[in-house]
């Protein structure tokens, strides 16, 4: 009985804590989820692995910014630097908890950086994968 009570208590205490990592990002992720389903009927959910590959990929659209890592470095838990020399806070949600919580800001930077780096707009799936990867670190 005591063990059961302990497990029940642990669940009550721990669950909200576990859900917390990413809870603040959920509204934005949900809106990309709806958009991804609309884009592709076969869409089955976001993937941190795909997000990681996307983040590290090299593109041909720009010699100045061939990859997300040009400014963000290949380690999202570390601070990056813009080409003009200004620090960029880490992209990992564990390091910068207010990442992906302001929809307008998120869209502004995806719009700019997808055009700069890839030369086209990102799909909702790419955005969702990216946020899922950044929330997993």
């Amino acid at each position: 009985m005591k063990a059961r009570q302990f497990i029940a208590l642990s669940c009550i205490v721990l669950l909200p804590a576990m859900a917390y990592a990413g809870a603040a990002q959920k509204p934005i992720l949900d809106s990309y989820l709806a958009a991804a389903k609309a884009e592709n009927a076969a869409f089955s959910g976001f993937s941190a692995e795909r997000g990681k590959a996307f983040f590290l990929a090299k593109h041909e659209a720009s010699a100045d910014t061939p990859s997300c890592t040009t400014c963000h470095t290949s380690d999202p838990t570390k601070a990056g630097q813009t080409r003009a020399g200004k620090d960029v806070a880490p992209m990992a949600v564990s390091k910068t908890p207010d990442r992906f919580t302001d929809a307008e800001k998120v869209e502004k930077w995806f719009t700019r950086n997808c055009q700069s780096v890839i030369g086209r707009a990102c799909t909702a799936q790419e955005k969702g994968d990216f946020i899922t990867f950044m929330s997993s670190l």
């Binding site: 010699a63 813009t82 080409r83 003009a84 020399g85 719009t111 700019r112 055009q115 700069s116």
Partner: protein
Amino acid sequence: MKKIIGIGAFSLLILGASLALVGPGNSALPQVEPAYVKECGACHIPYPAQYLPKRSWERILGSLDKHFGENATLSPKALQPIKAYLDSHAADSAAGNPRIMRDVAVNNTPLRIVEMPFWIHIHHKQIERKAFDAPKVKSAGNCAACHKGAANGRFGDDD
């Protein structure tokens, strides 16, 4: 009598101190538009409006989709206060400084402060060009690499 001399000397001291504060190099800068600091200052220091003419700022704001190799577009709503601020504080505006416009040809629209004759005169008189290519500096446009007060508009020799 002594008291009057004392007051006179004190007044001169205050006057001198006030003049020193508004002297060149560390002049008190006008209040910077918060939207300009937030949006433009996200990637680089909010470059002083008074270091480029109006026509330069106009061209920069009109080509943000191709901004020195990056897409830096802003919504019309976000752009509006920035445009108004740069226009009213540019080198050739009422709030500007005629010395900054010296030697800028009327048909020249510099897109970088480092192309402005005043900047070249101050920097390349004493500093070797290769110093600006050092990894810690990255580019001459990274004012804050040397001027620690750059983000707050201070560019004196000691800043």
